[in-house]
Each structure stands twice: as C-alpha cells, then as structure tokens.
Symmetry: C2
Subunit: 191 residues, 2 copies
Amino acid sequence: MARERKFTTRELFHAVKHLLLEHGYDAFHFGLMAERLEVSRASLYKYYKNKDELITALMNDEMDAFLVELAAVEQIEGFEAQYDRLVDLFFQKKDVLPLIQIARHMMQRMEADSQQQRQQLEQLPLAMYETLQRLIAQGKQAGVLKAHLPDSVMLGLLFQTIAVPNHYNIPHAEWVAAMKEVLGQGMFTAR
Amino acid sequence: MARERKFTTRELFHAVKHLLLEHGYDAFHFGLMAERLEVSRASLYKYYKNKDELITALMNDEMDAFLVELAAVEQIEGFEAQYDRLVDLFFQKKDVLPLIQIARHMMQRMEADSQQQRQQLEQLPLAMYETLQRLIAQGKQAGVLKAHLPDSVMLGLLFQTIAVPNHYNIPHAEWVAAMKEVLGQGMFTAR
DNA sequence: GTTTAAAGTGACACAAGTGTTACTTTGGTC
DNA sequence: GACCAAAGTAACACTTGTGTCACTTTAAAC
C-alpha cells in the first residue's frame, strides 16, 4: 500500500545488537544505526521514539529467542544431559550476558520518565529465571546437585562463567570442558 | 609557596572512583567531578588533560593498593589458608573487577591518540596476574588444585565470582561460603 | 494517470560535554 | 606591603548527539 522499506525488522535488530555490543549502551546512538542501515537518522524516529525504546524492543526479541532454546533444553531426558546442553547453550549464546548487563545499566539511567519501559525490562528475565530454577530443582531432586547450595549461587555462577575472558585463546572445546568440570566438581583434587 | 588546594589527591581519587562506578566510563565527566569536589571544572584541567588521563591515574593508584594486599596473601603459610584469604580479599575488594572492565572498555575507545596511556593501562594487570599465577602454581604443587586445569580458567572464574549479583540478598557469610564450596568442590554431589 | 499514505530526508533549534584563554584570588617570601 | 607563583574561575568557541518539522519520494489502489 505504500513505499518499500529500506531495511527489514530483522536487519534492524541485527544492527542494534551488534552496534550495542561493540560500543556499549552510552556510546550507541541513532547516528550509528542510520549509517549501518544506510538510511537517514530521521527515518529511524518513525519507528522508535528514542534509543531506549529501540533497545527495549531488541531485548524482548532476544529474550524470546533465548526462551525457545531454553524450552528445548527442558525437554531433554535426564539431568546430566540437560546440564551439559545448558552449559553449551550458554557458551553458544555468549551475547546474552552482556545484553542483560546493558539492560541493567539502562534501567539505572532511567528516571521516572518512562516507567512503562522500565517495567517491561524488569519482567524480561523473569520467565528465564523460572525455567532455570525448574532445571536446578530437577537437578537437586535427582540428587545430582547439592541441595544445600542456593539456586541463585549456582545460576549466577553459571551465567558469569561465559563472561570469563579467554585471554590465552585456549581452544573452545577444552575451555568449555574445563569450565564444566570446575562448575561440577570444583578446582580441588578429590582427597 | 602558593595558595591552598581545595581538595587533596586522596579526595580526588575517592571521587573519581565512586563517580566512575556509579555512572560508568562514558557517562563520567569532569562536570561531575567539579560538582563533587566543589571546584570549577576548569581547575581540574590544571591537573589532568582529560578524563582518560585522570582515570588512568586512578587505576594505577587502585592497582598499587591491591598489589599490597595480594602480597600479604602470598606471605600466608599453606595453600588452603592462602586460598581462603584470597577469596575473602576478592569479595572485600568487589570494586576491582568493575574497574578492570572499565579499563578494558577505555582501551577499546582509544585510538592512536595516546598510545602512552594505552601501554600504561595494558601493563597494569600484569604484576597482579604474576602474583596470582604464582599462587595457583603453589596450589598445584601442593596437590590441592587439579593440575590439568588451565590457570586462566581458575583465575578467570575466581574473578567473575565476585561479579555474581546477589539478587536475593543472601547473607554475605553464607554467600561467600557457597561460592568457596562451588569453586573448590563443585555443584555436584560426590558419587 | 491520478490519488493516497507510508517511507524517507535535510535542516533546524536545542542540550550537554570539551578544552582553552584571559583573568582573579590567595598566601608565602623578600 | 610589594611580588610572585600556584590555585582557582568565568566565559567562549567548538563538537556531537537529540528530537522534530516541513518536505519529497515511491508504489500500490483506483
């Protein structure tokens, strides 16, 4: 019914995500987006009022995609296999943690202006935590995970694991295996 | 020989550190500093050419202080006691990790302009890594730490541990104990 | 081929931070 | 009390990003 768009929503999200990860929340701006998508800055304002709204949309999109993958993990039979797949998934989706941190940073920098977005952002990780806590509960039930450890310690550690920088470029498989071992059995020798 | 200063170097570093942690690298600026120290913005330029130079000075100061504490850990007898003190130290100095991340972010955003500062920043963590790797080596020597795990995995994980957000406000002692247990013996039950 | 409405744009006024300059203030020295 | 040098400042020109508006372009519908 009208003119053809110069970029798809998918291309737009792809651009936001990469520019955001490259430059960080504060240094990210509409000028970068316009350049990347080869459109004028003004045209972007037709779709999003400001960068917070744009980024919030991206976060929703990313979280939806992540939840789909998480649901697949939950379908796996047996906790050990689930755990294995979960860690692999986290390493495969390394971007999730920085994006979550950006979302937190963003909420800090938002005053009373747009409480609607704030609420939307706050609710974002809830569904994810629910699923993850269900998985942890299963692990404890199965007697695999130590029952006395708080869920949040295990989940938090699992999450931060993917943020450890591999400065020495240890091969990915070896790196992940080492991480799985430490999380599961620790760094100490059995004595 | 001249007029009295309105702030000490210590007050200045204290202000930089807190403003930096509160606002992040990009949102931190001389205006905030001036306001906090109750001086004019222009006067700060008498001491530091720009915010990168100011922040670099802070980083040096912080790292020096941290190295002193690390050296104390190295004096402790027996690896278990060293490990215990090290983890406590990390939790006590929670600010170190965000500051290091800010330093990394800063280096990314610096082009060829000031290579001198870049080099200074790059060398900052080296002495720290040296000490830490010496500690790890002692642990492996003593047969406490698994010899086949890469040092960087253990160190990296140790570092990230302090960044895990304690959303549910689990009491500090319990939280730290749980972290120590996972790092040492893992999340899995012994079978 | 005219109409219509969404897609896109250049240009403007505004806001906030930067770095420098010419200047004033202050307190010790002679 | 004159002077001097360090400490401090207001003000200016500049840069970069924001959000909006009046306008043009384009393709489908009729």
